[in-house]
Amino acid sequence: MAALDALALLGRTFLKFLEATGRLAVFVWNAFSRAWRPPFYFRAVGQQMIDIGYYSLPIVGLTAIFAGMVLALQSNIGLARFEAETQIPEIVAFSITRELGPVLAGLMVAGRIGASMAAEIGTMRVTEQIDALVTLATDPFRYLVFPRLLAGLITLPLLVLVADVIGIFGGFVVSVQTFGFNPANFINKVWDYLVWDDIFDGLVKSSVFGFIVTLMGCYQGYYSRGGAEGVGRATTNAVVSASILILVADYFLSALMFGV
C-alpha cells in the first residue's frame, strides 16, 4: 500500500506539473497572440522599461561593482598560485560579461521587479481591477501582461550592458589600487581579450532572464487568489520561481551558446 501511495503521490505531482506548464504556455500564448491587434500600449511599454531599467540601475550597479571587485580579489589569490596575476583583467571581463553580469542582474531584477509586478497585478486581481479592465473593453493581456514581457525582453540586456561596464570597473579599481596594475595596461588587456560573442551571448542570456522575471511576476500575480495572503504568496512564488528558472536557463543557455 505504501508503495502505491507513493506512486499515486508521484503521479499527482507530475500531473500538477503538467497542468502548471500547460497553463503557463497558454498564458504566454495569450499575451503574444493578442499583442498584434490594436490598440498598442506604447506608453505602458515605456513606463515598464523605465521601471525595470532606470529604477533598477542603482541596485544592479551596486551589485555589479562589488562583484567585479571581489572577483579581482579572489582571482589574484588563485592566479598567484600559478604566478599568473597579470591575467586578472581577462578573468574579470570574461566572468562579468558571460556570467556574473546577466545572472546577478537577473536575480536582482527578479527580487525587485518580479515581486513588484506580482504584487501589483495580484492586488488588481483580488480588488476586481482586472475585471474592471475587461468591462472597459480592455484586454488585460494586452494592457498589463504584454508591455511588461516586452519591456523585460528589451530592458534587461541594456541594464546588463551597463552592469558589465560597472563590474569591470570594479575589478579595475581593485587591480589598480590594491595590486598596482597599470590602468592603461588593464584597459588594453580587457579590450584585446574580450570578443564580441562574450558580450552578445551575455546580452541574449539577459534578455531571456528579463522575460523569465516579468513572466513569473505577471503569471503569479494574474492567478493570485485569496486576498492579501494570496497576493503575498504570489509575490514569494514570483521571486522564487524566477530565481530558480534563471539559474536553470543559465546552465542550458551557456551549454548551448558557448558550445560546452
Binding site: E128, D131, T135, L136, A137, T138
Partner: protein
C-alpha cells in the same frame, strides 16, 4: 418589461464552482431602457450572474443573448466590441490605484475608444461634475478618497463612455444611509437621462425600491419571483416576504452555526 425583443435574455443558465452549484437554470429578461434589480442573500449567485453576462466567467450551460445575439462563447475580439456598450459600477469601486481619478474616469474613452487624452480629460471632468465631484478631486489618487467618493468616481467611470447597458454591483453596500440614498439618486438620474438599460444586484431593499422598475429575486440558483417594484410587498411568495422584511424565520435557511 417593455414589449419586443429584450436587451438581455438569459435562459437556463448553469454555473458551478467545484461542487458548489451557484446558478441552476436561471431565466431572466431585461427590456430595453428598463432598470431591473436582482435581490438575494449573500452567496446566492448575484455577482456570478453579472460576471456570466460580462464574460468574466463562462457558464457550463445555458444561453445569454444581447440584442438577440448569443454571447456565451463569442471570441475575445467580439467580446471587446460588445463590452464597449457596457458600463459597470463595482461593489468596491475597483478604481485603478496607479491612475489619478480623472484618468480612471477617462480610461475607457482613451484605451477602448481611442479618444485623445486632452479631450478625454474634459469629458472626465464633466462626468465627475455630474456626480458632484469637482476638478480638485480629479487630480487625486483613488487611495485618498472616501467610500462614497469612490462609488461616485466608479459611477462616473461607468457612464463616461455613454454605454447602452450599465450594471451596478451592490451600489450602496458599505455606505451610510444618506450617502446610499445620494448614490441611488445619481444612479436613477444617470439611467433616466441616458436612457440606458440597467441591471443592479443588491440585498439593500431600500436601495432596490429606489432604483428598480422591476425586481427579481434570486434564490437557490434560480429566479423565484419577478415583478414590478410596486408589487413586491404584495408578492405571494414566502421567500420574497422573508427577504424583504428581513425575517430570521422562514423558508430561507441561512447556514449559520448555533451558539
Amino acid at each position: 418589461m417593455t414589449n419586443g425583443q429584450p436587451k438581455i435574455r438569459i435562459r437556463n443558465l448553469h454555473k458551478s464552482f467545484g461542487s458548489n452549484q451557484v446558478l441552476r437554470g436561471l431565466n431572466l429578461d431585461i427590456g430595453v431602457g428598463e432598470s431591473v434589480v436582482v435581490i438575494g442573500g449573500s452567496g446566492s449567485g448575484k455577482s456570478v450572474l453579472l460576471k456570466c453576462i460580462l464574460g468574466l466567467v463562462t457558464p457550463e450551460e445555458g444561453s445569454i443573448q444581447i440584442d438577440g445575439k448569443e454571447v456565451v462563447h463569442i471570441s475575445e475580439r467580439d467580446r471587446e466590441e460588445l463590452l464597449k456598450q457596457f458600463g459597470m459600477l463595482f461593489q468596491s469601486g475597483a478604481l485603478f490605484d496607479s491612475l489619478k481619478v480623472w484618468e480612471n474616469v477617462a480610461f475607457g474613452l482613451i484605451q477602448a475608444h481611442g479618444m485623445p487624452r486632452k479631450q478625454a480629460k474634459g469629458v472626465a471632468l464633466e462626468m465627475l461634475a455630474s456626480v458632484g465631484l469637482d476638478a480638485r478631486v480629479a487630480e487625486m489618487a483613488p487611495a485618498e478618497l472616501s467610500g462614497g467618493m469612490r462609488k461616485r468616481v466608479g459611477l462616473a467611470r461607468a457612464i463616461a463612455t455613454s454605454p447602452k447597458v450599465i450594471f451596478f454591483d451592490e451600489p450602496t453596500t458599505g455606505l451610510d444611509p444618506i450617502m446610499g440614498s445620494i448614490i441611488d439618486r445619481l444612479i436613477v438620474h444617470s439611467v433616466k437621462q441616458m436612457q440606458v438599460t440597467a441591471l443592479s444586484i443588491t440585498h439593500d431593499m431600500a436601495s432596490a425600491r429606489r432604483i428598480a422598475d422591476r425586481v427579481a429575486m434570486l434564490y437557490n440558483g434560480e429566479i423565484i419571483w419577478d415583478g414590478p417594484v410596486a408589487e413586491i410587498d404584495n408578492a405571494d411568495n414566502p421567500h420574497v416576504d422573508q427577504f424583504i422584511h428581513g425575517k430570521a424565520e422562514g423558508p430561507i435557511q441561512m447556514q449559520v452555526r448555533k451558539p
